[in-house]
């Protein structure tokens, strides 16, 4: 990590400590968000990190965004930074437009959404399922084939839903005529595609998981050091030590995988394999770390009063968002099968 990113990460960490403490996290749990933290992150200038400055973004690369997301995941921060920066900001800037201010989210138009050109703009009608943070977003960037449609608040009604951690995942009922100023054509030769969208969403979730898992590990370490049974801290039992070491190994593997995938993105490496692998490994890690963290905590970790749940419910939620281990394993499996025996090694080393 270079010094600029290190300093940035430190600043974000301080903002999370100041604005995103346990009370703030708990307050978000029923579909809320942390507006004060968002304001602090805007002041730091990271809410559009990785979006080029000439399009109104904060600049920086995907690796920097991933570094910030790890801290947000660690803090269970209730802010749509992944959606604003890595998805909506990327879509809008990728069309050569300028990103608007405020929190955003993004989605791919599914079969439930119809668009028709008509006088005054583009008529957009139908539904989009489980859009993260939609009720708090000022805009929703929708990738609809070869164009990006920027929905404003009045263009849709969010039917409120949440994920396992209580983060907003709203079904949108869209009925609007979107003016041409908010309909952007994806330029020819652009890297923007549904697959690329899915990959960035997966990388973002993997980065958040790496952070949340680190917190779950730290809570387990602290608890194992404090909790005494049979006259000594449970951390002195080898069986517990082995659990903690196994957690640390999984967290380290997933963390390096996520960072390496971000690096592949930024350096023009084989990001498809890298991102798929990072999401697979992060998803596997999420299950192992959440279950061991609870095992180490005993019954208290299984209660609403204990903060462990903020991290573990996020791990359980995020591993299934943007494609779970099985989906991304399937993607990799198809790549591997078409590479065949001689192509497997070049595929894994990015030296095709």
């Amino acid at each position: 990590m270079n010094e600029i990113i290190s300093a940035l990460v430190e600043t974000v960490r301080e903002a999370c400590a100041a604005q995103g403490g346990l009370d703030a996290v708990t307050a978000c749990a029923g579909g809320g968000w942390n507006a004060a933290l968002w304001t602090a992150l805007e002041q730091i200038g990271v809410t559009t990190i990785s979006v080029p400055e000439e399009h109104g973004g904060a600049g920086g690369d995907v690796a920097a965004a991933v570094a910030v997301l790890k801290v947000l995941g660690e803090s269970s921060a209730g802010v749509p930074l992944a959606e604003t920066a890595l998805l909506a900001g990327w879509l809008i800037a990728g069309c050569g437009a300028t990103v608007p201010s405020g929190p955003m989210t993004a989605a791919v138009a599914g079969p439930g959404l119809r668009t028709d050109r008509q006088e005054g703009g583009l008529a957009v009608r139908g539904t989009i399922a489980r859009v993260p943070w939609a009720r708090h977003a000022h805009h929703v960037a929708v990738l609809d084939g070869g164009r990006v449609v920027l929905l404003s608040r009045g263009d849709f009604l969010p039917e409120q839903g949440t994920n396992l951690a209580g983060e907003p995942r709203d079904d949108l009922a869209v009925d609007a005529v979107v003016p041409p100023s908010r309909v952007h054509e994806v330029p020819a030769g652009s890297p923007i595609s549904e697959a690329a969208f899915r990959g960035r969403a997966a990388l973002a979730r993997a980065a958040l998981m790496a952070g949340a898992a680190r917190r779950a590990l730290e809570l387990a370490l602290a608890y194992a050091g404090e909790r005494e049974q049979f006259g000594r801290p449970i951390a002195k039992f080898q069986a517990v030590q082995q659990h903690l070491a196994a957690m640390a190994g999984e967290v380290l593997l997933a963390t390096v995988a996520v960072e390496a995938a971000a690096l592949a993105h930024d350096t023009g490496g084989d990001a498809d394999v890298a991102v798929a692998a990072a999401k697979v490994v992060a998803g596997q890690m999420a299950g192992v770390v959440a279950s061991l963290a609870h095992q180490v905590h005993g019954a208290i970790g299984f209660t609403e009063e204990h903060s462990l749940r903020h991290s573990t419910t996020r791990l359980w939620a995020w591993r299934d968002e943007a494609g779970n281990e099985e989906e991304w394993s399937g993607v990799l499996g198809r790549d591997v099968m078409s590479a065949g025996s001689p192509g497997l090694w070049p595929l894994l080393t990015g030296t095709r």
Binding site: L252, L253, S329, W345
Partner: protein, 384 residues
């Protein structure tokens, strides 16, 4: 704990692409000409001194040595690229493995000028092979408990004791053995010394310990009052522990902790693409994804080694996760291919499946059992 999270991913420098392509072309030629055959776990089982010599001719052994000792002063990352290519191809690398991975670097770091000149150029040429003398009948994971004794005599030392699991000692030209040279004190890591014992020696008895397959790789090595001159003490008498632990960081984090069963996976992919249930592709994908990630972790540790650090804890993580993964590969292939393992088969898949199953127990034992390695991690986490 800070150190553990400071590990950073590494992008291999572009110039290593040329080196990698050279190694690949060389291996393709070796395989197609039938000079070598692809097997699993070849860094234990694949002893072929002619092949080692051919690698030496190309400068792919002892790459880290300075030119005056026969190397090319290439860093840890260049060595990483070469060794992972050799392992992925299932090439027979056992003969020079210990010398290249740990004995050579140990000599370079701690040896005298005379020792470096004597051994390093021959190692780099693939003409001088080493065995490691660490474990003993009563000393496994608890390495500081070694009982082999070195006693000072005129002009050198007398060594008495027994080493076990010494891979390739029956064919090696030398062994680096860890011995106690001062009585044990409260500091159990003090008073240990590394000796270079040139082989064969009439006072060194080497007896095979056959693997459960009957293969001869391991040996029991008995030092029967063997004389070791002062010139064959490695490093400072008494600082053997420090030297041996620096060896372990190199020993635990390399691509050989991930790739022992890779030749099986590669062979299986072709078979499964033709005969497999398409639903099984995701299982193979999951394995491939984890392998990609483990390789990134191993590379990140190599990056730290290249920068001169001794990332012992990170190395322990690579070994723990990587070696358990090696047998996940075996099981995935076994279940999906439904091929019956057969060590005598003329077909690669049943043969390599047999090799992977039968060599499997060693993966999580060699280089420190995984339980001990998790103990190393727990200590770093502050709970031990």
């Amino acid at each position: 704990m800070k150190d553990l999270w400071g590990l950073e991913p590494v992008t291999l420098p572009e110039e290593l692409g040329v080196l990698r392509a050279d190694v690949r072309a060389f291996l393709a030629d070796e395989l197609s000409a039938g000079r070598i055959a692809s097997h699993c776990d070849q860094w234990l089982g694949g002893w072929d001194h002619e092949f080692s010599r051919r690698l030496g001719e190309r400068g792919w052994i002892g790459m880290a040595f300075p030119a005056r000792y026969g190397g090319s002063a290439s860093g840890a990352l260049a060595r990483f690229a070469v060794t992972e290519e050799l392992l992925a191809a299932g090439a027979p690398v056992a003969a020079h493995w210990i010398a290249d991975r740990q004995s050579g670097p140990g000599l370079l770091r701690f040896g005298t000028e005379e020792q470096k000149q004597e051994f390093l150029p021959r190692i780099a040429r693939g003409e001088c092979f080493f065995a490691a003398g660490m474990s003993e009948p009563d000393t496994g994971s608890d390495l500081a408990s070694v009982r082999t004794r070195g006693t000072r005599v005129e002009g050198g030392w007398r060594l008495g004791g027994t080493k076990v699991w010494a891979s390739g000692a029956h064919r090696a030209h030398a062994m680096i053995a860890l011995a106690r040279t001062e009585p044990r004190t409260a500091d159990r890591h003090a008073g240990l010394t590394q000796f270079i014992i040139e082989l064969p020696d009439p006072a060194v008895r080497i007896r095979p310990i056959l693997l459960l397959t009957g293969e001869h790789h391991f040996n029991e090595v008995v030092f029967d009052d063997v004389f070791v001159p002062d010139a064959r003490v490695l490093g400072e008498p008494g600082s053997g522990w420090l030297q041996v632990t620096s060896e372990l960081a190199m020993e635990r984090s390399g691509p050989e902790r991930i790739l022992s069963t890779f030749p099986l996976l590669a062979a299986a992919v072709g078979h499964l693409a033709e005969h497999g249930d398409p639903a099984g592709a995701a299982r193979v994908g999951a394995v491939a994804g984890r392998m990609w990630a483990l390789r990134q972790l191993s590379l990140a540790v190599a990056g730290r080694l290249e920068a001169g650090a001794a990332p012992a804890v990170e190395a322990a993580v690579v070994k723990d996760l990587g070696t358990r993964f090696e047998s996940v590969v075996t099981d995935t292939v076994r279940l999906l291919s439904q091929v019956v393992p057969d060590p005598g088969s003329s077909l690669p898949l049943p043969r390599m499946l047999a090799e992977s199953i039968l060599h499997g127990p060693g993966f999580t034992l060699r280089g420190g059992t995984n339980e001990i390695l998790r103990g190393v991690v727990a200590k770093e986490l502050g709970v031990r």
